[in-house]
Structure formats: C-alpha cells, structure tokens
Amino acid sequence: MTTVPATPTVPATPTVPATPTVARRVEYAGVVSRTAAFMVDVVVVAAVALGTAAVVQLVVTVVGYRWRGLADWAVPVLLAAVPVLFALYNFAFWWLTGRTPGMALFGLRVTSTAGRPLGWIAALIRALILACFPIGALWCLVDRRHQAVHDKLARTLVVGPALPGR
C-alpha cells in the first residue's frame, strides 16, 4: 500500500476578492417604530402645509382686497390637499433615498422584497395606497414580515437596523 503525499493545491488563477459585502441580519420594522416614523412625517408635512397656507394668507393680506377671493379658496384647497402632499412627500423620499426623514430618525428603510432599493413605480404605488387607504397599515400587526397592505401590493419591506439585544 503506497501513500501519496498530499500536495498543496495551488489555484490556477488568483482569486479576485469580490466586492466586500456583509450579510447583515436585518430586522423587520415593528408597528411602534413605523407608527412613530409615520407621525414624524405627518408632523413635517402638516408643518409645511400650514406654513404654506400661512404664507399665502399673509401675501393676500399684504397685496390687498383684489386677491381676497384667491385666499378664500386657496387655503382650503391647500389644506384639503394635505394627503396628496403627503403622498408626494413619501414618493419622493422613498424613490430617491429609500426612507423618509421620520424613518431615518428611527433607522428604518424601505426595500423591495428582494432587498433592492425601490423603483419609482413601487414607490408611487406604495405612496398612493398609503395616502388613500391608510388603515391598511394595520395589517402589519398580524403579518409575519410586518408587511402592510401597501407593502403587499408594492412588494416592499420595511426593515430596521439590527439593534443590540434584539
């Protein structure tokens, strides 16, 4: 019986290190974090809307009586358009950065179910459904991956940072 000495195998081609990626264990964002982020965003949008309405009212007051009719309908329309403004706000931030300021404050991020950044279509669908059917967000209470209705329809996920102790 002969023994064959083991020779170290040398790879034919040097291995090129791939792009350093870290398989990070992500956490699905819970109801409390998402609600808190949503409230922050609502406050931001409301502040912007109220500020705009105040500016319009101030401009009309300064300009004079001729524009009084414009102020009478512009301010209610602006306040009634807050959901649309909120949808535009969400759409812009989700599409461009993947997170709104409120979500950034709580460390949340919107991704596709495949883990990729959101496209504009998914961001638009998600924003519109959330603006028109906000009560559908309660579905994340019972969903295993904490997906709400707008997440299901837009095929998105809300993930948060892996905090220590979680």
Partner: protein, 260 residues
C-alpha cells in the same frame, strides 16, 4: 536652765524605770498609755512641760534621748527653757517610732489572721483588675465621645470665626487682587488668542459634543421604539396564536453603506 533640762531628763529616765510595766501595744497601732506617768490632765510639776503630750512607752529611745540631751546641755550651756529645734527633733523621733510600732503591729496582726488560698486571692485580684479595666474603659468611652463632640463644636466655631474674620477677608481680597485677577486676565487673553489662531480645534470639539449628544438621543429613541415593537409583536402573537417569529431574511448590504 539646767534644772529644767534635768527634770526633763529625769522624767524620761523615770519612764525608763517603768518600761517593764508597759502593757502590750494596742492592736490598732496607737501607743498605749502607761501608768508610770501622770495623765495629761494632771497638774504638771513644771511649767515648760505642762503642754507636752503624755510620754509613750519607748524606754530605750527615752534613755538615748535623755543622755543625748544631758550631754548637749553640758557642752552648750545657757540655752534656757525655750522650746527649739531640738525638741522638735525629739518629738519627730518618737512619732517615727510610734509609726514604726503601729506598722509592725499591723504586720503581725495580718500574719496572725487566716490567709486565704493563693488561687482565691489571685481570682479576687483578677476580678478586681477586670472591674477596674471595665470601669476605665467605660469612662474612656464616655470621655472620648464627649471629647469628640467638644472638639467638633470647637473646630466648627473656630472655622467659622476664622472664615468670618475681617482680617482673613482682607487678606484674601488682597491676595485675589494681587494674584488671581492678573492671572485670570492673562489666561483669558491666551485662550482668546489661541481660539483666534486655531478655531478648528474648538469647532471640532463643539461639533463632537453635539454629534455625541444627538447620537445618544437618537439611539435611545430607537431602542425605546424597538422595545415597543417587541412588546406589540408578542402581544399580537398571543392574540392570534401565532407559533413563533419567522427568521428574518439576510439582506446583503455593502459594508460602507450606512444603515441609519
């Protein structure tokens, strides 16, 4: 003068002649009166000796003293009847002999008593020593606590007096005016000059402090929200009888990206 001295000498000599009839000394140590001499309230035969205490039974001492007095009178005549140091010395000699006799009688009496055993005496002595030590310790404790209180009160009052003393205030004011204010002015000028020359250091310091405060606040906010998420998840799982939390997906992410 010589007659008076002779009479005293004779008196002492007469004492010598009756020494055999002297009774045994009193157990209490006091010299016993003798029958050979008249009592003290009897009319004296001579004026200088009328105030003298009744002589005690010390025959040998009386003989020696009488002889010495006679010899002294013959060697130095003309002394008179006045009482001098010589009489004081004689009295002291007899007092010393009385004291020695009393001491000797006490020693004899103590020897004649039945003496307790050595162990019992040792135990008694040990008890007495222990009681003494305990008494001293108790008094020491009391005195120590009292002394501490008094020292604290005294120190407080002393410090208050020193701190409120006008002299000290004047001294401190003078030193502050002389040393501290110029030093503060110089240090402040140096600090301002350094800030003017290198503002980046202070700016970086302030920025770091601000960032750390904001990071800490945001971290605490996120931890609170995460705790709320966990609680709500557990409650929802209990309500809908869900078995267990699914394992979240591992999303690949570039290492340099911020998860914010």
């Amino acid at each position: 003068m010589a007659d008076g001295a002779n009479r005293r000498t004779n008196g002492h000599c007469g004492h010598m002649t009756t020494s055999d009839q002297t009774p045994a000394p009193d157990p209490t140590g006091a010299p016993a009166p003798t029958d050979a001499f008249p009592p003290s309230d009897a009319p004296p035969s001579d004026a200088p000796l009328s105030d003298a205490p009744p002589p005690s039974g010390h025959p040998v001492t009386s003989v020696v003293v009488g002889a010495a007095a006679t010899a002294w009178d013959r060697l130095a005549p003309g002394r008179g009847d006045r009482i001098g140091l010589r009489e004081v010395a004689v009295g002291a000699v007899f007092e010393m002999e009385d004291a020695a006799a009393g001491l000797l009688a006490r020693v004899r009496r103590s020897r004649s008593r039945p003496r307790p055993r050595a162990v019992v005496r040792l135990v008694v002595l040990a008890d007495q020593a222990r009681e003494g030590v305990a008494r001293l310790a108790a008094r020491g404790v009391v005195e120590q606590s009292v002394g501490r209180r008094r020292a604290a009160v005294a120190l407080d009052s002393l410090m208050a007096a020193v701190a409120n003393a006008p002299v000290v205030e004047r001294v401190v004011d003078a030193q502050v005016d002389r040393l501290l204010q110029p030093l503060m002015a110089q240090i402040l000028d140096d600090v301002l000059a350094q800030l003017e020359n290198e503002p980046e250091r202070v700016q970086a310091l302030i920025r770091g402090q601000r960032d750390s405060m904001i990071s800490e606040l945001v971290g605490r906010l996120r931890q609170t929200a995460a705790a709320g998420d966990t609680t709500v998840d557990r409650l929802a799982a209990r309500l809908i009888r869900r078995a267990a939390e699914p394992e979240p997906a591992a999303a690949p992410e570039p290492a340099a990206s911020t998860s914010g």
